[in-house]
Amino acid sequence: MRHVVLERWSRGESCVHRRDPRAKIVALITFLAVVATAHRALAWLAPGLLLLLLAGLVLAKLPLTGALVRAALVVPFTGVFALICWFAGEPALGLRLLAKSYLSALAVIWVVATTPLPALLNGFEMTGVPRFLLMVCQFLYRYLFVISEEAQHMSKAAAARGTAARNWTAPGPSFRAAAGALGVLFARSYARAEDIHRAMLARGFDGRFLQLHSEHFRPADTVFALVASLAPVAVRLTVERVVG
């Protein structure tokens, strides 16, 4: 599966990986806000910010082409709207949408690929997101692949019994089969959640996840947060002063 790549990258080792998740979250939000509010001189600003992100990717020792290709996941959606704008007589607007969403996605990848997701979610908890919601996210991510594999097994089993062959002529029976499979998957996930909860209680769960290493906001994190969030602001101010 595609997403496992991000997981592998996030276990890497570099000066960006070592930084506190909160510092990276601050830097990410600043970058996104700089991109989202930019409207002047975007033809110069976008390459500048892209260079900045590339520098960040090199610093984090991430594979450049891999990250660039992954960020292109946004292109199908964005591209459709860019084309629509193009046909509506505003090609510049279309290009702007494309550039902005690509840069934002690349920035998110830079952070997610340098921070394991549990640590990142923990970082969000310390910025004030409800803990309950983040616990739901943690469980969702942990069991995403388990349940997905179960779903794939079910659809493969259904295909082996010949449901795919009948799709063209009479969708009714295979539709009912798919609905039945989803019902079973739902009930199974529900039962699994109860098993998980019982197992957690047996191991002394008291309402919060324990962390193996404590989070300390070191001076290096402060410096990182400052530099990484001031850099895009500086790029934008320079470009707007020189060009605009």
Partner: protein, 283 residues
């Protein structure tokens, strides 16, 4: 339809983020109160289920297939608050791990799908009751959640200045309707198979309600969302009004004044209709 970053104008994403933060906090607290702490693994697994459900294709005929979106199904099984939390978690994971939807636009996506979408899906289920209209209310709820979320997302894009031809808006509305019907049929199928396997998993619906209320609610929500969509690309009625009336100097004051006057007018009309309806009923 998950809006990526860079599409919404700053007032739109900022306003929707500000609206989403307290709403999500409230919903999370409510969902937590509803069950005990076994809720967290349960909701997490339900989120994983919705992800996994996209891997199971539903044949529609002629070789095409669709898949479950899930907001309404979650509302029918877990209740609206817990369903909102699950949808929020799904949107968050999709924005972070799958680059599906932006991070600053997360507030907008949450409002569209996790808050309004879930509520629009739950409303018919609640009103439809357990009688002969139950199947229709399940279908209507699932369809409404898709139409409403789609219309909201599209109108946010249009308000943000994404240019789109009139005909294309009509086409996308048709696409929303088709996928809404599909979602309705799929959800109905899954709910019926759940009823056979384990009926306790579904939320109780009240014994009997009038179908008229159900139809009015569905029509009202449908009209409102389509209306918002078309209003977002037409010149604002209030703006037009302010161009004709009032002195030109106090810009924001004049707009606020006409806005408030419009609100008072709508309030008066609703009040009058409510009075008439209740009087007729008591006779």
């Amino acid at each position: 339809m998950h809006i990526p970053d860079g599409f919404l104008s700053t007032p739109v994403w900022a306003a929707l983020d500000t609206a989403a933060v307290p709403a999500v906090a409230w919903v999370a607290r409510r969902a937590q109160r509803g069950f005990d702490d076994r809720q967290a693994p349960l909701l997490g697994l339900m989120g994983a289920f919705v992800f996994a459900a996209q891997l199971i294709n539903f044949p529609v005929g002629a070789g095409t297939s669709g898949h479950l979106v899930g907001a309404a199904l979650l509302a029918f099984t877990l209740g609206p608050a817990a369903a909102s939390v699950v949808m929020t978690a799904i949107l968050g994971i999709q924005a972070l791990v799958f680059q599906d939807g932006g991070l600053l636009a997360l507030g907008a996506n949450i409002v569209n799908m996790a808050l309004v979408g879930v509520l629009a899906g739950y409303l018919p289920y609640r009103l439809g009751g357990a009688g002969e209209w139950r199947r229709f209310s399940i279908f209507a709820g699932a369809s409404l959640s898709v139409v409403v979320a789609g219309c909201l997302a599209l109108s946010e894009l249009l308000i943000s200045g994404v240019k789109m031809q009139r005909s294309l808006v009509g086409i996308s509305l048709a696409v929303f309707l088709v996928s809404a019907i599909l979602e309705g049929v799929i959800t109905l199928g899954v709910v019926r198979s759940l009823e056979r396997i384990q009926p306790t998993l579904l939320q109780d619906s009240p014994p009997h309600k009038s179908p008229a209320l159900l139809f009015i609610a569905v029509a009202a929500v449908l009209l409102a969302s389509v209306g918002v969509l078309f209003a977002s690309q037409a010149p604002d009625a209030i703006e037009q009004l302010t161009d004709h009336a009032g002195p030109r100097s106090f810009g924001w004051l004049r707009q606020a004044g006409t806005g408030l006057a419009g609100l008072a007018l709508i309030y008066g009309v609703c009040l009058a209709i409510g009075r008439t309806v209740s009087r007729n009923r008591s006779v």
